[in-house]
């Protein structure tokens, strides 16, 4: 199973590193990362594998928020995107 981590906000040093290490801290494997500038905001989307993760998604979200407090962070199961955008 996979989940999607999104981090949005003003670009700065170390966002990717801090987010990735928060994932590593909960044993979630990062399988894909995309980043771009969307509507003037830095926007990173990270797909992580959560089968061996040691906590719930909400807890990982808290960890990442603590690591990059300036950014808006969401951690959501991939099913929600698949069901909304795929028939």
């Amino acid at each position: 199973m996979k989940a999607v981590v999104t981090v949005i906000g003003k670009d700065m040093v170390g966002i990717l590193a801090k987010t990735a290490s928060a994932c590593a801290g909960r044993n979630a494997n990062v399988s894909d990362v995309t980043q771009s500038i969307l509507d003037g905001y830095f926007c990173m989307v990270m797909v992580i594998e959560i089968d061996k993760m040691t906590c719930e998604l909400a807890e990982l979200e808290k960890d990442i928020k603590n690591a990059v407090p300036e950014m808006v962070v969401h951690v959501m199961h991939e099913d929600i995107f698949n069901s909304m955008h795929r028939i």
């Binding site: 999104t6 969307l38 719930e56 099913d79 929600i80 909304m84 955008h85």
Partner: protein, 451 residues
């Protein structure tokens, strides 16, 4: 592979446009709890609800954490209690207190089903239950009540209509020190549906399975935001197309959450109710969608046409997104629960006559409307009869949930939370007393002869 734009669209819908799952409602049949001794019957009711719904709230919260989507309410609907009263006799308020206690034990927001179905006549237990509704709503916090007084098949039971006018008034009077909240928990239906997950009208129909999960989605904010991006000169067929696509996405959320809840609770999945349910939060308003379509303010000429198109497009988009669609499924227009409707009612642009016309083309009826506290019961009955007639002739559900502002001449009632607040709306001062006091039945219309 997931696409960046799709991911951002979903997140914006939830974060900025108030997309949420309005309710997960567990329907529980109480038919096997009936006993000739009312105390034994209540005991069985309490035990069954607590057993079936013990994990409902925790599962709802787990799904919120997993998908990052808010689930605003967890609710229970039960078999119309009049059926149990018919067998046990006794004071129906005992059942209301039992339901209230069970709802508090399992931690749900509301429990619906203190109901009677009397569209063709009163059976054992029906009159007793209806007589006890004002007291039941005053003595409980979470119990909701509904009465079905008409249907396309059966016509309108005008004796019940006359009785309900009095009961709505009494429900407000008994709770006048709590903003007349009793009347806000009482709905009078024509063509009531058996799998409605929304309150205050939810009950678990007798044709339903022992226990099911029904889901109600929300999302007026999402539809409005999508329309805001459309150029103002786009033709209405394009507007309808965009509403359809948005409704599809919103409904997919409901389908996903319903399936997940059903799997985690080990209870069959019933239906998704595709309703656009507004909240008093700014932006989460059906009236604003109508204004986005091109009305200066909701309630002006053109409102009925815009609402008809919206309601139809929501259904067309939603129906393909779900394996089973049911409930009320359409746009709701509760005045006090919708920031745009409140504003339109305050400014005088939206009047009761226009609301009545709107109910002919949308999902329910005259909902959450504050009326003067000195309104005669026969006038409330006449309002109910008008709405029921619209429902009966058009083979659709209509309902009346009006709140007489007892003890207040001018001003507003503030219910708080999702129920919102609303100004007192003007009624026609002429009487319908003679017609209402005739009683009897309005016979089933020619539309009922479909076989």
């Amino acid at each position: 592979m997931l696409n960046l734009a799709d991911i951002m669209e979903t997140i914006t819908m939830i974060q900025d446009e108030n997309l949420d799952i309005r309710t997960i409602t567990m329907g529980i049949s109480l038919l096997d709890c009936a006993d000739t001794d009312i105390d034994k019957s209540c005991e069985k009711v309490y035990e069954k609800i607590c057993e079936k719904a013990k994990d409902l709230v925790s599962v709802g919260e787990a799904i919120e954490r997993k998908y990052g989507i808010p689930i605003v309410n967890k609710r229970i609907s039960v078999t119309p209690i009049s059926m149990l009263v018919g067998i046990s006799g006794g004071d129906p308020v005992k059942y209301a207190l039992t339901l209230d206690k069970a709802a508090k034990t399992v931690g749900v927001n509301f429990i619906g089903g203190f109901s009677a179905l009397v569209q063709k006549g009163f059976a054992a237990g029906d009159k007793e239950l209806i007589e006890s509704i004002p007291r039941a709503l005053a003595e409980t916090d979470l119990v909701c009540s509904s009465v079905n007084i008409g249907s396309t098949r059966a016509g309108i039971n005008m004796d019940a209509v006359a009785l309900m006018g009095e009961k709505v008034k009494e429900a407000a009077e008994l709770t006048k020190d709590k903003n007349c909240i009793g009347a806000a928990k009482l709905v009078v239906f024509c063509n009531a549906v058996e799998d409605n997950p929304f309150m205050a009208g939810a009950f678990h129909g007798v044709g339903e399975a022992d226990c099911v999960i029904n889901v109600g989605v929300s999302g007026p904010g999402v539809v409005r935001a999508a329309l805001a991006k459309l150029p103002k000169d786009a033709p209405l067929n394009e507007v309808a197309e965009l509403i359809k696509k948005t409704a599809f996405k919103v409904t997919r959320m409901g389908q996903l959450v319903g399936q997940e809840a059903s799997k985690m609770l080990g209870v069959p999945f019933g239906i998704v109710d595709l309703s656009l349910a507004p909240t008093p939060a700014v932006g989460d308003s059906v009236a604003y969608i109508l204004e986005e379509i091109g009305l200066e303010q909701c309630g002006t000429h053109g409102t009925t046409a815009a609402l008809a198109m919206l309601n139809d497009a929501v259904k067309k988009g939603g129906v393909m997104a779900s394996s089973a669609v049911g409930g009320l499924s359409g746009a709701f227009i509760p005045v006090s629960e919708d920031a745009g409707m409140i504003a339109a009612a305050r400014s005088g642009c939206l009047c009761l006559e226009k609301l009545e016309a709107m109910t002919a083309v949308c999902s329910v009826g005259l909902d959450m409307i504050v009326i003067p506290g000195d309104t005669p019961a026969s006038t409330i009955s006449a309002i109910i009869a008008d709405e029921a007639a619209i429902g009966m002739i058009n083979s659709k559900t209509t309902a009346v949930r009006v709140i007489p502002a007892v003890g207040q001449i001018d001003g507003e009632l503030d219910f708080g939370g999702l129920l919102g607040s609303g100004p007192i709306m003007k009624l026609n001062p002429k009487s319908a007393d003679t017609m209402i006091s005739r009683g009897g039945r309005i016979p089933a219309p020619i539309q009922s002869l479909k076989n």
